[in-house]
């Protein structure tokens, strides 16, 4: 019941690298076991009479076997290309339920039910190279002598009041080209 104890955990995997080329249906064989007369097998018998042929035609890659066995509860066995075998009881199923569950088992691959730790899987997680503490560091660090004066300076210093004033004055200054003319003008006014 409680998942973490009884359901194994794993990462998404798909058998036979399905999908890289074309998609291949992973269900190789379905065996329907039912009783010809008991009431619990009524649904499966209805399914066999109505929908079985169309199901078999829709899934040409899957072999379908019928095993009528007296006095046994109905079930179907799904076998997959990777060797997994699952038995599903169809006790008191209706024909629609049979269709639904069989279709589900055709779309599954044979991986056992598990709790997925990650919802993705890559073979190539990194194209540009994984981050390491040295990725964004200047390679000149390898040959610096420590203690280094350059690296000991603070990362960012606030401007002191003197620096700000000096900046303001420099901004107000007119460029050197026009300096002579302005001085002449000022001299003339005086």
């Amino acid at each position: 019941m409680s998942s973490s104890r009884f359901t194994p955990r794993g990462f998404p995997r798909v058998p036979l690298q399905n999908g890289i080329g074309r998609y291949i249906c992973q269900l190789k064989r379905v065996t329907l076991r039912f009783c010809k007369s008991s009431g619990s097998s009524r649904g499966i018998r209805d399914f066999i009479e109505t929908d079985l042929v169309s199901f078999a035609q829709d899934h040409p890659g899957t072999a379908l076997y019928l095993k009528p066995r007296r006095h046994k509860s109905p079930s179907f066995v799904a076998e997959y290309l990777n060797g997994e075998r699952e038995v599903i009881s169809c006790h008191n199923f209706t024909a629609q339920q049979m269709v639904k569950w069989l279709n589900l088992y055709t779309t599954r691959s044979g991986i056992p039910l598990m709790r997925y730790v990650k919802m993705w899987h890559t073979e190539c997680p990194s194209i540009q190279g994984v981050w390491s503490p040295f990725t964004n560091k200047d390679p000149a660090l390898n040959i610096t002598q420590f203690p280094s004066e350059m690296l000991s300076r603070p990362v960012w210093e606030e401007k002191s009041a003197t620096e700000e004033l000096v900046e303001m004055i420099n901004k107000q200054k007119i460029s050197d080209e026009n300096n002579d003319d302005i001085q002449k003008v000022q001299a003339a006014h005086v």
Binding site: M1, S2, S3, T7, P12, R13, V14, Q17, N18, G19, I20, R22, Y23, C25, Q26, L104, T106, T107, R108, S109, I111, L113, M114, R115, Y116, M119, W120, H121, T122, E123, C124, I127, Q128, M168, K171, Q172, I174, S175, N178, D181, I182
Partner: protein, 195 residues
């Protein structure tokens, strides 16, 4: 020459003068002098041409890098979740998703594409004609049984529910860029809510 004369005249007013263009507005602003504002003069360099050549060279380099057909990764938005994805990746999608097993799909919402030497960042989504991410649906299954157990102590309230969600496994077949990145369509969609 006219420019220099204007500069001399306008030396006591607030001006930003562009070297390429004569400040025609200077003539009108001569009359409106502000004595309260500090006197300043800035030379603003017109960078548009330099920037354009710089960005054109970058676009050209990227177009050449694209032609190398190296492995690219993409950030793709599927069913409300984003995945960083390359060729032959598996992606697990939680919940009901219509595409059937064996369907080949082209993923529309590509937010970012990158390679070893370049990255294309979409705002928010890249052009689907330029960037193509194709995928195949490989598996449609039910998840493992999750137990939902609620209990409020001393209030006789206890509920237990078992739930199995549908999951889909998608195999990303390829991430590739089909054309030059600066190719633009003549007619483009505007203002469509994408995400």
């Amino acid at each position: 020459m006219l420019c220099n004369k204007l500069l001399k005249f306008a030396s006591k007013t607030v001006q930003t003068v562009s070297t390429n263009r004569i400040a025609v507005a200077a003539a009108s602003s001569l009359n409106a002098r502000s004595f309260s504002a500090p006197i300043s003069q800035e030379y603003v360099v017109d960078n548009t041409v330099a920037h354009k050549t710089f960005s054109d060279t970058i676009i050209q380099t990227v177009n050449e890098a694209v032609k190398n057909n190296n492995r690219l990764f993409a950030v793709v938005h599927i069913c409300g979740k984003q995945f960083k994805v390359t060729d032959n990746d598996l992606v697990l999608i939680d919940g009901y998703w219509p595409p059937n097993v064996g369907d080949r799909i082209k993923l529309q919402k590509v937010l970012l594409v990158g390679g070893k030497d370049f990255t294309l960042i979409g705002r928010p989504v890249l052009d689907p004609d330029t960037v193509q991410v194709t995928a195949t649906v490989v598996d449609k299954d039910l998840s493992h049984t999750r137990t939902n157990f609620e209990r409020i102590k001393r209030k006789q309230y206890m509920r237990i529910n078992f739930i199995r969600k549908e999951i889909t496994i998608l195999r990303i077949n390829s991430v590739f860029i089909t054309q030059n990145i600066d190719n633009r369509k003549e007619v483009q969609e505007m203002g469509r809510r994408v995400m």
